[in-house]
């Protein structure tokens, strides 16, 4: 009986149609599963691209600008994370490396320290990023001589560019024109910020001190004791401070020009 039973069971085989159907069903199931996986992978890839793209866009979009009025002017685009994301017109710089993607304070510092700008007599920096950025840039600029910072809106900056003036000078032009409409762009362009400020002070009848404009380049000496000098004169005036202590000199003149000397130890 054992043998008969074995033979009986052995005579049963899976029909070829049954095997073929099952093979087809398994193939279809595998494809559906693979298709599902591919779909998931595709969606994940799209999301990743979208995330990276939008993140990159947010990072790479400048929201404010710092214009350094060299010739040609250097314009730094600053993103919302206070990083420099674009540098244009940096031909006068000897090294542009390290400016991009650094914080704008570092970038301004690096540009101002650039040997290519050492012989530039006067620099104007225009900022469109609000007072916080202006303060930071002023902090950077305070270590350098004859650097003037000012802040303005995009529109002012555009108008200044249209007039061919740095923003600081353009603002001065507007201020001067309020007193003397005959002042032209050319006149302003030929003067330094210092001269412009003196001019404005003269026109407005105010002294440099309370004119409301601050310029780097005033000399400060610190130390023990104090000493200061103050001089006025017709035609020319100069003031200087000497001493072991802090000296602060300034002068005003009716002649429109003045010189100053500072000595500090």
């Amino acid at each position: 009986m054992d043998h008969k039973l074995y033979e009986t069971f052995d005579s049963i085989h899976a029909e070829s149609a049954l095997v073929a159907h099952t093979r087809a069903a398994m193939g279809a199931a595998g494809r559906v599963r693979n298709r599902g996986r591919m779909r998931v992978a595709a969606v994940a890839a799209c999301l990743a691209v979208l995330l990276v793209g939008s993140g990159g866009w947010v990072y790479m979009t400048p929201v404010s600008a710092i214009n350094i009025e060299t010739n040609p002017p250097i314009e730094l685009g600053v993103n919302r994370f206070d990083r420099v994301v674009s540098v244009s017109g940096g031909d006068t710089l000897q090294s542009e490396d390290g400016i991009k993607f650094s914080s704008y304070e570092d970038a301004v510092d690096q540009i101002l320290s650039d040997p290519g700008l050492a012989d530039v007599p006067e620099l104007s920096i225009a900022v469109t990023g609000g007072s916080e950025m202006l303060n930071s840039v002023e902090n950077c600029a305070s270590a350098h001589r004859n650097v003037y910072c000012c802040s303005g809106s995009e529109e002012e900056l555009a108008a200044a560019e249209a007039a061919g003036l740095p923003l600081g000078k353009y603002q001065m032009l507007l201020a001067l024109q309020a007193f003397d409409p005959s002042i032209t762009v050319q006149q302003v362009a030929g003067m330094t910020m210092r001269q412009l400020r003196d001019e404005l002070a003269l026109l407005s009848g105010e002294t440099d001190e309370n004119a409301g404009y601050q310029g780097q380049g005033n000399g400060y000496g610190t130390g023990d004791g104090s000493g200061n000098g103050y001089g006025t004169g017709d035609g020319s005036g100069n003031g200087y401070g000497t001493g072991d202590g802090s000296g602060y000199g300034y002068g005003t003149s009716n002649g429109g020009h003045h010189s100053e000397k500072h000595h500090s130890e």
Binding site: M1, L5, T8, S11, I12, V19, A25, G30
Partner: protein, 164 residues
């Protein structure tokens, strides 16, 4: 998820085993096809790692038995009678085999399993106890009774009394 090659290999190796178990449990071809595909699709998506081919074969037997029981025990199945019921399952063409098969199929399910596993697959009682999740002694008892019942059935049918 197993590869298509793996699925194909399993189909070649275990198609007959699964078909035979379906044969001794199911009454119509539609159910057989259903269970057959269910078992192999289960294999396709299963992540079970098999230690050996024997292990794999035992897995197929266990899964097929469970699938058959699930189908037969389902409410829908127990309350309906498919039209194809009248169609005899194909296979077992020879008259001699047909008679033996009919005798086996006339036995209760628990006897059919042990007869198949012992006489065809060659499993011992302890191995069957593992696969069927039963006590070894129960298997011995079932096997003894199954043999007796089959013998009686075949004699009753007048089939080869001299060979039984």
């Amino acid at each position: 998820m197993r590869s298509e090659q793996e699925a194909d290999r399993a189909l070649r190796l275990y198609a007959d085993t699964v078909r035979r178990i379906c044969m001794i449990h199911l009454k119509n071809y539609a159910d057989t096809e259903d269970i057959f595909q269910t078992v192999f699709l289960k294999y396709l998506v299963s992540s079970t790692a098999f230690a050996s081919e024997e292990h794999e074969k035992a897995w197929f037997i266990r899964v097929t038995l469970n699938a058959c029981k699930d189908l037969l025990g389902s409410f829908f199945h127990s309350r309906t009678l498919p039209l194809s019921e009248v169609m005899l399952q194909p296979a077992a063409q020879e008259a001699e085999h047909q008679e033996v098969l009919e005798a086996v199929l006339s036995l209760p399910e628990k006897f059919r399993d042990v007869l198949y596993l012992h006489y065809y697959e060659g499993y011992t009682a302890p191995q069957m106890a593992k696969i069927l999740k039963k006590n070894v002694n129960t298997i011995y008892t079932l096997l003894g009774r199954a043999k007796d019942r089959l013998k009686a059935k075949l004699e009753e049918d007048g089939y080869g009394s001299q060979t039984v």
